[in-house]
Point group: C2
Chain length 500, copies 2
């Protein structure tokens, strides 16, 4: 049996940061157990066509006024920190039929979205016991109650613009809690180029001998004095404290009797507060598809382009004629079921990050939410994924001033003749929903959820030897890299103070 | 001596609403004493060239998700309510040298302003005991601390864009509290056309005999059982309750020994809480100048145009070279003193409401803040006012696609020859700072102020026979028409419940 002061389960940014802090505080024996054969967890930089590099996991510094990781990076010499660019200029928004609808002085959809989110907040603020609604229901409620103040075009397009929020939460509007809808931005968002530099920097602060890759933890046994951590190779490591940084989705396995890849058996089992809290929290699946072109033939003016889901031209009539809100919700719900057949990329909001603007790389990184993420990640066929998104992609390019049809050249056989034709060289997709150690992206809230419960349940027990860190264990920066990073520091500080 | 159940001092919207509620609740004897020869107070609709109508006082429904007056209006038959238009499409912003700077994908000044306001909030949120700063100091602090993340153009233009807030608060950035800076919008803003219709509607709900115009109140004597209200004509009216709705600026006279027009002597004097609270509250002066043209020769696309104060081309260099924040603040402060000579309209942010977009009326209603308001209102000469604003006006028209010089024709002598030349027919200005019964616009906060104190001091005494209403006596809707309206209802309900 190996003896350690601390075992850290997971070498994502929470685990790495915890280890680096412990090392700084003088700890001599610590082991980081990582199930994957790489560090970084949901920070994952990959290489595409011509060595272009993309972050398939998290890719922004959010909340840059309060983001501790960002502020730490800023204080480093420029060559030691990861580059970043502020890419939060106002979005281009387009609809398949209508074309551009952003910054329209008649529709003012940005202003309406702001009002809608405020409307939702007030709904719960004015009646603290008000039942949570899904976001789709809230949107319809807003349209119904404010219809006298809205034009037909506003009623038609606002719902699809509202779905932009899906790309923050990673789940679709019919699954999203209205109560947990708002994103309270604390400063601008900066795109990181790329996150692996930050991961490697933090990892470099830790002795190499601490890190053990491709090692799954099977059991965490807490006898009150020590914790015994058993790994898949049969070994057991004894320690004073363990920090569990596995994603919420994986931690949830521990509450179920079935065996699952990545499942950790806790002895004694996770306490009843944690069990209850898991009933009030869910998990999103923000996915990405990177479209890599040979050359740029489109406008580089704007950083982000939102493609709207298809709108219904008779929606305003329905909303105006409705006599009962719940019947209207039911009717519209039935009329907006998801369909995944070819061409139905118009069923979903899609955010395209125009990489060329800031990096010169002629690729679009497209963001999508569940259930689309799950569907696309299951396809595993670049040709079919291209087919699925072709209508949107061609409209995107047209919106950005490039009207030529896209030429697919995955085998790199084309000799380029027409400088203006967009030649698609490669597609890169995420695989988070099929990754046994992630099963999606990050915490998300369905109606009735309360993310605070899980944070409290995982952090309130100030005497436990089994500690938790990760984006799901913290309120400030929840779901963000810097939240995970901060939670790792929090647990390291706690343990260092206890063992001091 | 006349006997009454209630005396209301002031026939602004708070007083009128209070009276209308009392009448609905069955009160038989009530007197509204109004010093001016008209009702409405700081709601004041006037007529200009060719019977065009403008609101020189309040002119918007703010916070339309929660604005009780707006929601009441919505429920009326259309012919009974005042028309309104949502005029909150995104602003055109121009600088004298640079031209348009709004929605610029490189400067993103709108995003930076949002970040700046959040930065200011966080400053006080992270340290509850942090000393208040004036808004100018806060802007410089932001620039200094974030300079590594800002471009030269951003440093140059953001401060002037930030001054847009002056036109919300009615005071300049060097007088404005950063702590009370944020405007928490609760829904869209709608321009009312015109407010006199609402004033008249509410007034029509009150018996005519209740209203006494051109009557100044001299003394309010509370003997614990009754209140004796003495007016300038020597009469005394006895009542059970008095509702004092005079503006904060006028109420403040009661704390000073000097005689002043509009001053009310309270016996016993206003209590010590009120006296203390007055030390922590101030008063703004949002002024307006209406420029009335013969015909429209400019773009009608956008509702609002912000003209920026002049920026300093070497500001970014100064900010970047600064080694000490407080020295930088001092230096920049000294370099941005106000000058009111001819042509110095470029010293101030000015908001132009493009009336023609929604009403067809070819006039601009220009909003300005103190100290400019006071200066302009003291001029009392249309020709000189035109001269002062000519550079900005001509740039405004150029920005909106009309490059011809403005022809002044106040005497209406011109026969129009060139259809494209903008012919200025008239100028209408406010006079609030010189109006003895207003002395400005509405409550505003200087550094260190806390508006909550005055609201509490004027409303907390639940046994007093001397009641207070008005925009300065309420938190939700403070400074707004609907806040004043709500406060009138609050006091009427209170008295009705007590006397029931």
């Amino acid at each position: 049996m190996i003896e350690n002061q601390v075992v850290i389960i997971g070498a994502g940014i929470a685990g790495l940061k915890a280890a680096s802090e412990l090392y700084k505080r003088g700890f001599k024996s610590c082991t980081i157990l990582e199930a994957r054969d790489r560090i970084g967890g949901r920070l994952h930089t990959v290489t595409g066509y011509q060595n272009r590099r993309y972050d398939l996991g998290a890719s922004w510094h959010h909340d840059t006024l309060v983001n501790g990781l960002f502020l730490e990076e800023l204080n480093l010499p420029e060559d030691q920190r990861a580059s970043f660019v502020f890419d939060d200029d106002s979005m281009v928004v387009f609809d398949a039929e209508k074309g551009r609808v952003d910054q329209d002085p008649e529709m003012v959809l940005e202003i309406l979205l702001e009002e809608l989110v405020k409307y939702s907040q007030l709904h719960f603020f004015e009646d603290l016991s008000a039942q949570d609604l899904n976001y789709f229901q809230m949107v319809v409620k807003y349209l119904y109650e404010r219809r006298g103040l809205l034009t037909n075009d506003q009623i038609r397009f606002l719902p699809q613009v509202a779905r932009f929020m899906e790309l923050w939460h990673g789940i679709d509007w019919k699954s999203q809690s209205s109560k947990c809808l708002e994103i309270a931005h604390q400063g601008r968002n900066a795109l990181v180029l790329n996150y692996d530099k930050i991961v490697r920097r933090i990892a470099s602060e830790i002795p190499e001998s601490w890190l053990q890759l491709s090692t799954e933890v099977k059991e965490v046994r807490n006898d009150g004095k020590n914790v015994l951590v058993t790994i898949d190779k049969g070994e057991t490591i004894s320690c004073k404290y363990v920090i569990v940084t596995v994603p919420q989705s994986i931690l949830a396995h521990s509450l179920q009797p079935e065996p699952r890849v990545g499942k950790i058996e806790f002895i004694p089992p996770l306490n009843v507060n944690i069990q209850d809290a898991f009933k009030k929290t869910h998990y999103g699946a923000l996915g990405k598809v990177v479209f890599e072109f040979d050359d740029c033939c489109w406008s580089t003016e704007r950083s982000r382009i939102l493609s709207l889901g298809k709108s219904s031209s008779n929606l305003s009539q329905r909303v105006r004629e409705a006599r009962d809100l719940s019947l209207l919700v039911e009717e519209l719900d039935a009329n907006t079921k998801y369909q995944f057949e070819r061409g139905d990329s118009w069923n979903f909001p899609l955010l395209f990050v125009n990489m060329v603007k800031h990096t010169g790389i002629p690729s679009f990184v497209m963001l999508m939410a569940n259930p689309l993420t799950k569907y696309i990640e299951s396809m595993n066929d670049k040709g079919k994924i291209f087919e699925f998104f072709t209508p949107v992609l061609e409209n995107l390019l047209k919106t950005l001033g490039c009207a030529e049809p896209i030429v697919k050249d995955f085998e790199n056989k084309l000799v380029k003749s027409n400088k203006k034709a967009p030649i698609l060289k490669n597609i890169v997709t995420t695989n988070w929903t099929r990754d046994d150690y992630a099963l999606g992206a990050y915490s998300a809230c369905e109606p009735g959820d309360d993310p605070m419960d899980l944070v409290l349940a995982l952090t309130e027990n100030q005497t436990s030897l089994v500690r938790f860190a990760g984006e799901h264990t913290i309120m400030d920066g929840a779901g963000c890299v810097y939240g995970a990073w901060q939670s790792g520091k929090r647990e390291a500080d706690f343990i260092a103070d206890k063992l001091a």
